[in-house]
C-alpha cells in the first residue's frame, strides 16, 4: 500500500535535551470514507503484543477484590488508571506444569508446554516448541516488513548458566531464541534504515541472490537441525530482499533517537522504555509489524532499580530477601505497571480508523510467577489490553476457575481471527476460550 503523508507530529526530545522530532503518519489518508478499512478495502490490521516482566507481583496488592466491570484499582494496578477501560485483569489462571521455579512459568506462558534441558546444567533450559507470538506471526505477520519485533528495556548480558528459556521471551523453537533488543538506536536503525538506491540496491540484490543460491546448495547435505538453522538463515535473507523491493513510502522515518547503547551497569530504564514505546508506537502505526514482544525485565537479568530509592539489590533477590512488607519490591511492582501504562497510553492516543491503535491490538502482559517471594504458579498476574479490532470486551476483572493460563492465549488467538482448535500440551492444553471477555 502506497500513500503519502501530509502531517506529522513532532515530539519533544527525550534524551540529553536534544529535541528528537518524530514523524507520525496519519493513517486517515489511507483509509476509506468511514475510516473502518483501508481505501483499497483491506481490513485494518489487528496486532498481537506480548509484554512481560519478571518475578511477579504482590498478589494481595495486585488483584482487585471485585469482579466484572466494577473492579477497583488496587495499589499495584493504580498506575494503569488512565487505561482502565482498555484493559482486563485476569485472575485464577495457573501454570499447570511442575518444574524448576521461574523456568516452568516462562516456558509454559511462551509455548504452552514445559521446558526441556539443553546443555549440561540443571538450569540450562530451553523451550520445546515455538513461542506463541512466533506461531501467530506466521499467520498475521507474514506480509509485514518485519514479521515480528522483539524489544526490551533491560537485560544484563550475563549467561550465568541459566538457559535460553530464561533469557528470551520469543523463540522460533528449540535452539532458536529471539532475544529482545534493548538498544533503542539499534531498533531505530533496523526499522528505519535508509533505503538503498542505485548501484548499492542492485549490488545488494545481486549478492543476496548468490547467498541464497549458496544456502540452497548446502541444504541437501545437512541433518534436520542444521536444515532448520539454515532455513531460518534463508528466511532472513528473503526478508531483506523483500524490504529492498518494498516501496519507501510506507512511512517516513522519524529522527534518530539520539542516544547511544544503554549503559548496562546502570541503564536508565525510564528513558529506555520511553524510547522503545515511541519506536514501537511508530512501527505499529506504520504497519511495519503486526506482532511484537516486549520484555521489560526478566527475573534472571538481575535488574537493580537504581532510580527507585532504597532499591539496593536486584529485583529477584529483593523478592526473596526483603523482610516484612517489602516496600522496595512494592515500589518496583508499581513502577513496572507504570511503564506498561506508558505503552498502552501511547497506543490508546494514536487514532486509527474510528478507534485507536490499541483498539486494534490484542495484548497480554504477564509475569512467570504470581509472587516472586514464594514462586507461586497459581494466580499468574495477567493483564489483557486492547479489543482486537472489536473481538474482545475490556474494562473487566475476570476470574478463572483455576484453569490453565493457556486459555488466555487461545482466547487471544481466536480474537485475532485464527482458527486454532487448541493451544498447549498435556496438562496445559486447552480447547476453549474465555467467553466472558469475548464481544
Amino acid at each position: 500500500m502506497k500513500f503519502s503523508l501530509t502531517r506529522r507530529t513532532v515530539l519533544r526530545g527525550l534524551a540529553c535535551g536534544v529535541p528528537a522530532a518524530v514523524a507520525l503518519p496519519m493513517l486517515d489518508v489511507m483509509l476509506n470514507g468511514n475510516g473502518t478499512a483501508f481505501a483499497d478495502g483491506t481490513a485494518l490490521p489487528v496486532r498481537l503484543g506480548i509484554w512481560y516482566w519478571g518475578s511477579g507481583v504482590h498478589r494481595n496488592r495486585f488483584f482487585p477484590a471485585q469482579l466484572g466491570a466494577d473492579w477497583e484499582l488496587t495499589p499495584e494496578l493504580a498506575p494503569l488508571a488512565g487505561v482502565r477501560d482498555h484493559i482486563n485483569i485476569l485472575s485464577g489462571y495457573d501454570i499447570k506444569s511442575d518444574g524448576i521455579v521461574h523456568h516452568v512459568g516462562t516456558a509454559v506462558m511462551k509455548t504452552g508446554q514445559n521446558y526441556i534441558h539443553l546443555g549440561g546444567g540443571t538450569f540450562d533450559t530451553d523451550v520445546a516448541a515455538p513461542s506463541f507470538d512466533v506461531s501467530v506471526a506466521e499467520s498475521i505477520g507474514a506480509s509485514s516488513p518485519f514479521q515480528r519485533l522483539d524489544l526490551g528495556v533491560f537485560s544484563d548480558g550475563n549467561f550465568k548458566g541459566e538457559g535460553l528459556n530464561t533469557r528470551a521471551l520469543s523463540h522460533e523453537g528449540t535452539n532458536r531464541p529471539n532475544y529482545a533488543e534493548t538498544n533503542p538506536t539499534a531498533v531505530f536503525e533496523r526499522l528505519f534504515a535508509e533505503q538503498s538506491v542505485g548501484i548499492h540496491q542492485l549490488g545488494r540484490r545481486s549478492v543476496l541472490d548468490a547467498v541464497a543460491g549458496d544456502a540452497e546448495s548446502l541444504m541437501p547435505r545437512l541433518g534436520a537441525s542444521d536444515k532448520a538453522r539454515l532455513e531460518q538463515h534463508l528466511e532472513a535473507i528473503r526478508a531483506i530482499e523483500l524490504r529492498l523491493d518494498a516501496s519507501a513510502g510506507a512511512c517516513e522515518a522519524p529522527m534518530h533517537p539520539g542516544v547511544g547503547a544503554p549503559d548496562l551497569a546502570r541503564p536508565d530504564m525510564v528513558l529506555n522504555n520511553a524510547l522503545m514505546v515511541e519506536l514501537l508506537g511508530i512501527a505499529l502505526a506504520c504497519d511495519l509489524t503486526r506482532v511484537f514482544t516486549f520484555r521489560h525485565h526478566g527475573w534472571t537479568d538481575d535488574p537493580v532499580f537504581w532510580h527507585l530509592g532504597g532499591a539496593s539489590d536486584t529485583h529477584h533477590n529483593l523478592t526473596h530477601n526483603e523482610p516484612g512488607d517489602q516496600p522496595t519490591v512494592r515500589g518496583i511492582n508499581e513502577f513496572t505497571m507504570g511503564e506498561l501504562a506508558k505503552l498502552l497510553e501511547r497506543l490508546a492516543a494514536t487514532p486509527e480508523g474510528d478507534g485507536t491503535i490499541l483498539d486494534n491490538c490484542a495484548m497480554m502482559a504477564y509475569s512467570e510467577v504470581s509472587e516472586g517471594r514464594d514462586h507461586g504458579r497459581e494466580n499468574i498476574p495477567i493483564i489483557l489490553a486492547g479489543r482486537a479490532g472489536g473481538a474482545l470486551r475490556t474494562g473487566l476483572h475476570h476470574r478463572g476457575n483455576r484453569e490453565s493460563a493457556t486459555k488466555v492465549h487461545l482466547t487471544l488467538v481466536r480474537a485475532l481471527g485464527l482458527d486454532w482448535a487448541s493451544f498447549g500440551r498435556d496438562e496445559n492444553q486447552v480447547d476453549s476460550t474465555i467467553s466472558e471477555i469475548e464481544a
Binding site: 551497569a265 527475573w299 532510580h307
Partner: protein
Amino acid sequence: MDANSKRILCNQSFARRRFVPADRRGHRHRHSPVPLAIVAAALLVSGCYGGVTSGPGADDLPIMETGEELEGSEGAGEGGISGGPSDDGAMDDGAMDDGAMDDGATDGDPMDDAFAPPPPALRRLTVAEYRNSVRDLLGVEPPAESDLPPDDSVGGFTSIAARRLAMSPAAIEGFEELSFEIAETVFADPARREGLLGCEPAQADDACVTGFLTTFARRFYRRVASADELMRLTTVVENVAAASDIWTGLSYGVAALLQSPSFLYRVELGEPEGDRSWRRYTGFELASRLSFLLTGSTPDDALLDAAEAGVLDTPEGLRAHIDRLMASPRVQDAVIGFFSEQLRLDSVAKANKDPELFAEFGPELADAMRGELERLVLDWVWTQRRPVSELLVSPKTYVNDTLAEFYGIPASGEEGYVEWYRDEADPRIGLLGAAGLLAGNSAYAETSPTRRGRYVVEQLLCAVIPEPPPGTETNLPEVPAGTVLTMRERVELHMEDPTCRTCHVAMDPVGLPLEHFDAIGRYRETDHGLEIDASGTISGVPFEALRGLASTLADDPRVDACMVRRFYEFALGHSSGRGDRQAIAELEVVYRAAEGDFTELLRELLEHDAFIYAAEVNP
C-alpha cells in the same frame, strides 16, 4: 534522570552500535568513562530461592557427578521433544538420548559407553573467529567486537552455542551490512585492492577476475569452490560491473564471499569412510578444525594446500601440521579462551557493586582483578604446564599496584603486574583466593555463599546441582525485624524448607567458608560485627576457611577430570554424553600421565578419533 546518569548517557558514543545488549554483550571498554558494563548477578539464580540453605544431614548428601546431560526430569515433558521444531539440535547433539539423570551408579550395559563421535553440525563463526578471519583474509582491521552479532552461550561455552543455535534475523542483517562496509574499505584503497588481486582486472570473466575469485573462494569457504559457486560470484561481479565499473563489481563479489553461509558457518560434515558408520572429516574440514581451534582463525594457504593434496588424510601429515600450528603464538589465546569461559574469569568484569558500600570498586579495580586471574591461570597452565588442581593451592600470583593496595601488600611502583608469593599467614591462596572470583561470585551488596558454592561445584568439579523437587512452592521464614544476623545465620534460617534444601545443600556449605571475603573479595574479620564461622564441607569432607577448601579441592581428582571433560566439550563444541565418556577417560589418562601439561592434552585431542570423525548425519 539525575545529573549523573544524564552525564553518563550523553558521554556515550552516539556512534551506531548495531549489536547491542540483546541479551548478553557487555564487553568492557577499558578507557570508557562509563561504569562497568552489566549488572552483576546477585544471589544465585538457581531454581530455588536465592539465599539459602544447609542444615542437619546436609553433608550426607552426595554431589552427583555428571555423566551426561540431564534429561528433562519430572514435569519437563518428554513428549515435548518428539515432532516439530523441538527435535532440532537437542536431539541431534545427543543431548537427550538418555532417559534419566545419571548418577554414575546405574551403568548396566557397557556398550552404553562405547565411543561415538559427536554428530556433525554447522558451526557459526564466533565474533573472534570472524574478526580474525577478516583480518587474515583481507588484511584490513576488522569491525569492532560490539558491531558484530554477539556470541551466545549454551552448556557453558560459546562453541556449543555456535554449533547449535540458529542465527537471528538481526544477526544476518548485521552480517549483510558489515560485508559491504568491509568490502568497501578493502576496495577504496587502490594500493590495497591491486595488491589483493595482483593483476589488472578488466571484466568479470577475464583471467584476472576468475583467478581472484577462485583463490579467494577457496580461502573464504576453506575448500575448493564448486563451478556453481564460482558462477554465482562471477554473476555478482558482472551485474554490478555492468552498472558501474569492475572494481565496484569486485567489491560486491567480496561482500558475497563475506555473506556466504560457507564462510559464516564452518561446514564440517565429514564423508563416509568405507563401511564404517562414522564419517571422517575431509582434509579441508580438518584444516578448519585445526586452524580455528589452535589459532582462532581461518586456515592459511599452507594448510589448505596440504588439505587439497591429501596430506591431512594421513596421520603423519596431520601431525606435521599440528606441530607447525602448535608453535603459533596464537595457541596461548586459545588456551586462555577455554579457561576464561570455564573458570568464568570475566565475571568480575561484569560485576556491579553497591557504590555506597564499595566506593573503591570501579573499572580500574575490576580490571586489575581480571588481569590477575588471566595471568595467574596462563602462567600456571601454559608457562608452568601444571594442573589446575595445583593452581588451587599455588602461593604465586600477579598483582599490579591497584591490586596491591587492595590486598594490603607492598606496591612495586612498576607499571603492570609483578609476581607475588603469598605466605602462610595470608588467608588467601590459589585461584579461589583471587579477589576477582570472590567478587564475581558475590551479589550486589553482599556475599553469596550459594553462588560461590555453585561456582566450585559446577565449574571446578563438574558436578550437578540437583533439581528441586517439583510442585512445592517455597515458603520462607522471615528475618525478624531489627535482628542482625551473619550471612551464615541468614542462610541457615531457611534450612528447614525441604524444597530449597535439595539444591542448596550441595552449594552453601561449600561457599560459607569463604565468608571472610566480602562482596568485592576484600578480607574481613567480622560479618555485621559478628564473628565469622568459616567451617564447611564438600562431599562430606569437613574443612576450615578458604585454605581448607583449597587443599581439599587440590586433593580431589574430580578437579582435573572436570577440566579434561570441559576442554573436550569446548574444543568440539559439544555437550558430552555417554558416547563421549571413553574418549574423555582416555584424554584424562594422558593428561595425568603428563602431570597436568595442558599442551599434551591438546595434542592428544587433535589426533583423537573424536576430533577426526563425526557420527552419521541425522536425516
